[in-house]
Symmetry: none
Subunit: 400 residues, 2 copies
Amino acid sequence: MDWETLARELSVSTPSKIVLLVLDGLGDLPVDGKTALEKAHTPNLDRLAAKGACGLTDPVFRGITPGSGPSHLALFGYDPLRYQLGRGILEALGSGVEVGPNDLVARGNYATLKGGLVVDRRAGRIPTSENEKLCRRVNDALQPPPGLRIALFPGKEHRFVVRFSGEGLTDALSDADPQKDHKPRAYAKPLSSEAKKTADIVNRFLDDVTKILSDLAVANTVLLRGFSKFPAIPSMPDLYKIRPAAVANYPMYKGLARLLGMDVMDVGADTRDLFDALEAGYKAHDFFYVHYKKTDAAGEDGNFPAKVKAIEEIDSFLPRIEALEPDVLAVTADHSTPCLLKSHSWHPNPFLLVAKSALPDDAVEFSERVCSRGFLGRFPALQAMPLLLAHAGKLQKYGA
Amino acid sequence: MDWETLARELSVSTPSKIVLLVLDGLGDLPVDGKTALEKAHTPNLDRLAAKGACGLTDPVFRGITPGSGPSHLALFGYDPLRYQLGRGILEALGSGVEVGPNDLVARGNYATLKGGLVVDRRAGRIPTSENEKLCRRVNDALQPPPGLRIALFPGKEHRFVVRFSGEGLTDALSDADPQKDHKPRAYAKPLSSEAKKTADIVNRFLDDVTKILSDLAVANTVLLRGFSKFPAIPSMPDLYKIRPAAVANYPMYKGLARLLGMDVMDVGADTRDLFDALEAGYKAHDFFYVHYKKTDAAGEDGNFPAKVKAIEEIDSFLPRIEALEPDVLAVTADHSTPCLLKSHSWHPNPFLLVAKSALPDDAVEFSERVCSRGFLGRFPALQAMPLLLAHAGKLQKYGA
């Protein structure tokens, strides 16, 4: 009996509503003695911390730095050590590319080849309109063997998604990317004996595209990364009997949400757009995943003042969530992105939960160190979802 | 290597004694800022908390509300996700009904049928003496097919236990209970393809009993719930090399204790009777499970003052345990039953442990919030038993 089996058995549909606000990469390390969250002026988060129960979560377990896939899966109640998602599938789903069980997808870059070397892995960040033209040209010119279909879908600037459709494809392939400029083109290597056929297909595609674009001075070849097939994963509505909505404005998070069976809301690029979308979708759903990216972006840039500012910005919008009076409101992160490290890290995530059935604790400030003394204690992020469902009255008793 | 394997390998028999006092449903949520345990005047519990080490336990994991079966199993060191006990088996064992591997048991109600509808699912709570007569009458009149034996055992008022004995019976059956008054009689539905034969036997029994009792105006049919077979579960003496005694005065807890191989003491209905029985059995045993029900009953009733009073009552008896000078004394709960929710909940249980080898901490008061800052931290209830055995010197070193 594991959590998924329990969830199917114990979950019940109720009118109660849950809002889960994810401040991507929130956790940090002190700069001049304070973390970004400690430094930021956050009257709303602090008030909620005082009202509710706090704790810390580990996305996988202590010491493991997760990518966005595993950290989000854990937060939604999917064991990140059981389910593994390729970056390609997330990018594809986020861009609205339909993916089925016979499809293999990857993230692509247009790149510039000169004198046998890849001199610019991003092809000078060509305009998106140029990218769209290139994709049309490649799609028209490609002549895949019988039984195989290949389609390119343009993204922003130099980025695209490629989808190979056919029987027996596998994603056990290394990236076809030289990783650094001024190196020769790279081919995909099979990572299992069964993957040889797929590697041949992909590598022939790389040669074909390079031939098709050979008259161009820039954007005359492509790199592929994150080969992935559609994973077999149960949906959140199936597992939890909820009607979940994703309120996110970055492709990857939308893609992940779609994969898990969430309704993906139309959201503009600004922070305020998240809250407009939340309000617009509030009536028709009972679980809301609201994703805020700026905290992570500032962490990746190592920009401490920008991170403080991003936290203060999101804090100012919290009253708009409170005005909806959700039965359960949780604020946390998927993983930490400390400015000092300029990357994801293994540090735990502050977690705050407000509900009628939450026991208020001494944690009257929302921060890494104060949350570590909260009543919820330190727990695997995988237990966040059971906790949210329980506080919303959506989980029945286990056993007699 | 799991805990059970470790327990068998590492446990040793010693003269040291462990008393585990379980205050059923103890944990609560604040009413006017304080939980029942915070509000109650508990000089003895607070003194013990100051002397010992404190913590919080989760019966299953965060968010999961356990029934009495899973929550007690965890407390006794049995993984509640591995072992699942039907309510019928607990009720049967608690009533002293012997159950073997070929037996199927269920909880029964006498009910009243009128004009084709069940008009009273409890038959007006007939007197126990009337129940005893009905069970004798049904037992005498039933003519089960060859190879099958059926016996009814009267309980209090309208309640009884039925035992079907025969080859190939299964407990994969739905309850035969319309759940609400003024509905037609309900039959047991098979929950697997193998269960069809058992469902037919049970449903024929339901028709037969209704025929046998058809001359009566009340208590003229029966309902059955919680079909269960005897589970394969190792005994506490086998696992831990202890001689355990159960000091409880409610059938279900006695039944559970008997299932796990504890000696079930004769205990009267009053709280003082628990301590008389503990003293009487003290010499012959080395592990004592003392079960106090009033805290849970008050929680289920949503009666905060009654819960406070129940806590104060049990507190006053603690010196009688201390006078026995057990090597290890632990006080905790099986699960929380907050007055606010009037039901079991997923909230953690306060835990206090007094032993020579327990490290005293800052927790100088026995309460949910103070225990959350104790030295024992927050841990799965499944680790309570290893902790008790260790502090009693009953667990050897693992590995060289």
